[in-house]
């Protein structure tokens, strides 16, 4: 007989008595929960507690927010255990148990989930806490914090209602700082808070700790689907999670007096990667005070002077943690009357430069293998290393200096609210979001801005953490700046700036400058080279670049590109005399006239190709034949049309006629790509002639030119067969005309960018030496989305979670990806060794690169700047795949 299905375990305990979870259980216990279990089991001084699983959150949300029946019972059992281990009791007037309730999903989402501290306090327990700590003031302070936080987070009472009462009472007692308010004042504050709570919730603050606990757990569950949490997951492309876990943990207090404190630290510097213990702490404070950036904290090294023994213990724990986790740890700690507790540890977010340095250092320290090191650097974070910094020679009109919270250089106009930043950024403006401090409600605006500037808060404040995660320049705690949100101005050093003023911020130095400072391309470090070397060692995919000019080709070679995957030829027709000849060709009425105009274009094209082939010598250059519709080359305004007619000595009406004749309802799906070569074979002939003549010129100069000719927008095999035929005939004709007898190997292939080509790839492959997946157009046609028009509906699609992400940013694996996979498979059924690459913009996106690796492409091609990212992402895909 089959065993009876075991009931799912909803709660995992961690503590000295027993520890049920471990770090592998992130999915079920969330990052925090798994870490707490892991830390406890390796002997760190973690306050005991228990974790409610993410599956329970899903269970709750899927059932329309109903609390699972047996959950209350299981919570009761765990609380009993906790009381046994700590010797404390909920609501006790002697030794009350206080707990924190925190969310924690499998993926870290700082600030997104609501947290409640000091839970368990009530009127009676408050007395107990006072008795136990011998500090009535502290107990009342903890109680008022609970009412405030519980009211705000669990019951949705606006924080400002509590703040208002605090201000009123501080004023009444004539004190400046929160900490200056004495017990009498705090007792009054507690009563005032209870009234606020009652006023806005229509119920009394619950005195039953178990009821507090249930309400708090519900609030954590609910926060999973709060709009701001959804927005964060969207922006960070987080999908596939069950929900958040809930961590219920015994409270320890950093605000028990001047022998107490709290802090956060990184085992290494998250900004530079230097192997320095790095962090901040506040004496006589709770953790939220550090994170919220309300008080400016001390550097962790200053603990040595304050509490040398505790500091030494902390250093020991730091070393133990890195050895255990083999990664930089971001830890939270509290000192309660000289006793150190570790509240939390997790892999530390770091800048791209830091990630590279740490990965390399850890290999040197034999903490990591090369393959592991490769996986430690998020490929997209390399953008930060590759981002321009300010030109050191440029004059800097420094207004003030804040904390260098997230490196990089940003230039933009001031925006004072997240909405304003979002709106103006969407309208195309570059804005810097300026806030006193940021909160999760600001994430969309922060994402839209090119940089973030705050006047309060430290390196671990919300703004700093979020900005570093995105690689967005951020300066924090620039306290000299006075922000007037209403008037939309900032005042600094006697100057007043408005939303029309441009500033420059340097996230690496913390400088805030007026005006637009010139930026420059960064120099890459030795560690970067090492990482790239390892990447090249382990990756399977080739990395090419999309480049249309010798300059771009050279730059891409510098970044390590192994050829050009997409050389667009249309850009070559836009300069000076070329555009005139191009227009003459388009306006010609006969093939003869077209050929005459094309003859003028030939030398330009040939010269371009010689330059590109030379820059890419020894590497393949895939040249795409003319792709855009011809109307793009004609002037559309009256004045330019007249001028063109004058220069070509024809009637303006002729120009206008041709423009209107070339007008299309849907140019994306119109007369473009290889359809041009079908109707105007002479264009193809000119281009192929230029390519082959350039190749011959190079060969004669002993330059190893390796052009590949790519026919765009092919939908049927006959189309490709016909145009391949014309191409080969032209190659033969040029060879004959030039009397060239050497080897001339010019592969002729096609872009697979039309769904039909992918579906019939076995037929198309009969006439192709290679395939290059043009996933931009393939995405357009597979989804039926015009990239030019998608902004009319994409925001709604993302907001309503109908699309997980913009399919033009990251390849849609289920739809477009299926066609790519099918195209490769069918193509190779015909030609086993068919070379397949991708040249859409997805070629520079790590997730898409991983997909490309998985379906067996030979190479990806991306913009020069993204080549290093692609090299690393390709290595990560290879390492992950072989693991």
């Amino acid at each position: 007989m089959a065993k009876r299905a075991k009931k799912p375990k909803r709660i995992y305990y961690f503590g000295a008595l027993k520890t049920e979870g471990n770090k592998e259980m992130r999915e079920l216990l969330g990052g925090k929960g798994a870490n707490l279990a892991e830390m406890t089991s390796i002997g760190l001084p973690v306050p005991p507690g228990f974790t409610i699983t993410t599956r329970t959150c899903a269970e709750y949300n899927d059932s329309g927010c109903r609390f699972p029946k047996e959950l209350a019972k299981e919570i009761g059992a765990n609380v009993t255990q906790l009381q046994r281990e700590t010797g404390k009791t909920f609501g006790s007037a002697d030794n009350p148990l206080l707990v924190s309730v925190r969310s924690g999903a499998a993926v870290s989402m700082p600030g997104m989930m609501d947290t409640v501290l000091n839970l368990g306090l009530n009127d009676k327990a408050c007395e107990g806490l006072a008795k136990l700590s011998g500090n009535h003031r502290f107990a009342l302070d903890a109680y008022r914090r609970l009412i405030n936080m519980f009211g705000d987070v669990v019951m949705g009472v606006d924080h400002h209602h509590f703040e208002g009462e605090f201000d009123r009472i501080k004023k009444k007692y004539r004190v400046q700082e929160d900490t200056d308010l004495d017990a009498r004042g705090l007792a009054e504050l507690v009563e005032a808070y209870k009234k606020v709570y009652h006023k806005y919730t229509q119920e009394a603050f619950p005195q039953d700790p178990m009821l507090q606990l249930e309400k708090a757990i519900r609030a954590v569950f609910d926060s999973w689907n709060a709009p701001r949490a959804i927005a964060y997951r969207q922006i960070n492309e987080i999908t596939g999670l069950l929900g958040t876990a809930v961590n219920v943990q015994t409270m320890v207090f950093g605000n028990m007096g001047d022998d107490s404190g709290t802090g956060v630290a990184f085992t290494r510097d998250p900004s530079t990667g230097k192997n320095d213990f790095y962090g901040e702490f506040l004496i006589n404070a709770q953790g939220e005070d550090v994170v919220a950036g309300i008080r400016t904290p001390q550097h962790v090294s200053q603990m040595k002077g304050w509490k040398p023994k505790v500091y030494k213990q902390l250093i020991g724990i730091k070393n133990k943690l890195e050895k255990h986790y083999k990664d930089v740890q971001d830890l939270e700690f509290t000192i309660e009357r000289d006793k150190l507790y570790i509240l939390q540890t997790r892999n530390g977010k770091r800048t791209g430069a830091a990630a590279v340095k740490i990965a390399c250092d850890m290999v040197k320290e034999k903490l990591l293998s090369e393959k592991e090191a490769i996986l430690r650097v998020p490929a997209n974070d390399l953008t930060q290393l590759l981002l321009p910094s300010f030109d050191p020679k440029a004059k800097r009109n420094v207004l003030t200096r804040g904390l260098p919270a997230s490196p990089g250089a940003a230039v933009g106009c001031l925006a004072f609210t997240a909405e304003d930043a979002t709106d103006r950024a969407h309208a195309g403006e570059q804005v810097i979001l300026v806030r006193k401090e940021t909160s999760p409600e600001d994430v969309e605006g922060m994402h839209a801005a090119v940089g973030i500037l705050t006047s309060t808060g430290g390196m671990t404040s919300h703004a700093a953490v979020v900005a570093r995660g995105w690689g967005k320049p951020c300066v924090c705690g620039a306290g000299e700046i006075h922000i007037d949100e209403k008037k939309q101005t900032i005042a600094v050093q006697g100057r007043k700036l408005t939303s029309r003023d441009t500033i420059s911020i340097d996230g690496s130095t913390g400088e805030v400058m007026s005006g637009n400072i010139a930026t420059r391309t960064p120099k890459l470090s030795g560690d970067f080279s090492t990482l790239m070397k390892w990447s090249d060692k382990y990756r399977r995919l080739g990395i090419r670049t999309n480049a249309d000019t010798p300059e771009d080709a050279k730059r891409a070679r510098g970044f390590g590109a192994e050829g050009i995957g997409l050389c667009r030829t249309e850009h070559m027709f836009f300069e000076g005399e070329r555009i005139l000849a191009m227009r003459e060709m388009i306006l010609a009425n006969t093939e003869t006239d077209r050929r005459a105009a094309l003859k003028k274009l030939l030398p330009y094209q040939r010269r371009d190709f010689i330059g590109i082939f030379t820059a890419m010598k020894g590497y393949p250059v895939t040249v795409r034949l003319l792709d855009p519709p011809l109307h793009e080359f004609l002037p559309h305004d009256e004045k330019s049309q007249k001028e063109l007619a004058r220069r070509l000595a024809i009637k303006t009406a002729e120009v206008k006629n041709r423009v209107s004749q070339l007008h299309e309802m849907n140019p994306m799906l119109g007369h473009r790509g290889c359809r041009l070569a079908v109707t105007y074979p002479e264009i193809l002939e000119m281009q192929v002639t230029a390519i082959v003549e350039a190749m011959i010129t190079c060969k004669k100069k002993k330059i190893d030119a390796r052009p590949e000719i790519m026919i765009p927008l092919v939908g049927t095999d006959t189309e490709l067969a016909t145009l391949r035929g014309r191409t080969l005939e032209t190659i033969a004709a040029v060879r004959k005309a030039k009397k060239y007898t050497g080897k001339l190997h010019v592969p002729v292939g096609t872009m697979i960018e039309i769904p039909r080509a992918a579906i019939t790839a076995n037929q198309v492959a009969r006439h192709a030496d290679f395939f290059s997946f043009g996933t931009n157009d393939l995405t357009q046609m597979t989804f039926g989305y015009s990239r030019d028009d998608i902004n009319t509906f994409l925001p709604d699609y993302l907001e309503q979670e109908i699309l997980p992400k913009d399919p033009f940013q990251s390849l849609d694996p289920e739809g477009v990806g299926q066609l790519v996979e099918l195209g490769v498979r069918l193509g190779r059924e015909t030609t086993r060794q068919l070379k397949c690459g991708i040249c859409g913009e997805h070629g520079g996106d790590p997730a898409s690169i991983s997909f490309c690796n998985g379906v067996g492409l030979d190479y990806v091609s991306c913009s020069p700047f993204r080549v290093p990212i692609a090299r690393l992402a390709a290595a990560q895909a290879a390492v992950t795949n072989s693991a």
Copy 2:
């Protein structure tokens, strides 16, 4: 050991000695060749000969027009055999062998392939023929015909050069008719023709009959790739053939004197289908004289008076043929000095009405089973029965009367050349092509014209045969009309008409009328009903219609539609006050204002649906929610924009802003379809409300309304899940508001018209009660062709044979079809019984219907008018599939 590969047999002999082919070998021997073999083997008096295979033609063309080495040898052997059977010898001065050389592909292409008669004649053989026939004049006439035809067809000498000489000599001898020229004149003509031949070919007319034969065979092979042949194949959508066969057959002569004659006949009337022996003959003439329409022939029944015995024999053969072929036969015969020969027989082309009558009659006569009868009627030919005829009450100003060559009514302006007809038709004009007689060079112009009128030629002339094949109205032999091609005028009954004048022609009566005569919808015959009954009995596919109004719905019910497969709702918004409310909705700035405008539209929509549901009572009505981009509803000209602003009491600038805001680069791929419902859920709500309220109103009146709600342009399953949810909520809300407690079954499904939806159909099906394949859009996106813009390149694609046909006319089975098949298969993996239909215009195309049947769709939906065609095509697909 493997057997040695047998050499391909290139020539098949037919005659009394042996007959190597049969009627099953059409592909290899062509239609004519297979028939000649078949006829010979069933004992018909066929002149002996041999057929060179189509594969040999392909061999010749594929090798760059090289005559296969062994072919000459094989021809020699067959000629020897022919000489043995006939006792005649090539070039003999006593008993010369003369042969005809004709093309013949697997599919009949009248007039497309070049023919040479009397081949084998030379100076010596001419004497021999004169001796043998005792008729010097006849021999010389045959000889001059050979030189003329050989020069024209084989060597490309313009026919007019020979004509000119003929006219000169006729004038010299003062005769009117060709037949009036005596032997002396003809001898002079032969010498003159030889000179013409020499002048234009730079060589003497070949005296060696074997050389004549080889050259003629080459010419037939070459004609396969002549532009006019390619054009014919394109227009008639003929693909996949190897080439043409060549039939070499002993000549018999219908012009051996007054006891000789030649004719063509149909075993039944090809125009009406009546079981009357139907045909024409000419005394003392060759076959080409009948077909070319130069002399107006006699009706075949008049043979009874002229040659009763031969007539009786012919009637016997006619009956034998129909019994053997189980189909109407189109035969060519010749009487040589009282001896009857059958030269050719093939299935007779017929009008749609004739096809229906013949099929029904043959079932009654037990010649055919019902299933066979179904296959005998080309489904598209039913258009002819469904075409409008002239209103009998309309006044007819009859100019003249010709032969009723192809039924139907056509109204248009006069066009005098094929090119003019083509150009003007493409420009949108309705033209009637007027020619003295038509030739294969005219086919494109004939196709472009709405009707054809000729002044000479009979019912089997080129114009008549081709027009009937297309179901295009045609009047032939209207001899009173005098055409001045140069001046572009016709003169008839003292009136002069130009290319600006409109005429009406009645292809069923032969009347030619001035002006534009009103037309009316035809009444369908009992045979038509019988055929439809049989179709309904055997078909598996359901047939629905695309209809947006109660009128269309009623009409379609009359044609037998079993529901509406596509009810577009956008057309409902264009009339009167509706468009104003629609525009108000589009111009609204808030959801509240939009809802206010939508509230005005609701009663209109509801009323429309009540009408449609009532007309379709008991049958499903699939309503598609709003699909086109909103800009289509706004005025784009300044004046209308001002007027709109005035009526809505807003600023004109607001209207303009909204218009420019809604402008899209590629509206096809923009904000339309279900994307509108995602951003404006209130539109969906209004439409669903109207549908459900209409349904409830009908139900209360005991009208069995069966709406199905179709969500267009779905690309992802989440999209459909979201909108299905909103739809079901709205249905529930309406039910509640209306306090309706009865059954309300409203299936909610989607169009599959985006490639991604087809690829992920297993996921999409989770939220769909049905799929309807929108193959118009699916074709656009699968090919990347904008239907609005395709004319910029499609003509080149067809001309260069890159596409076999317009994929919007007939479903592309390899690309789009694969997606349809995949969509059905994946959808049914999720829901085994998922109802699948098609509502693109392909739903009315027989080839596409056959495809739909094959992939297991449940129904097709097409325009009301094409419903009978779809019923028949569906039956044909079912019968063919089960065979």
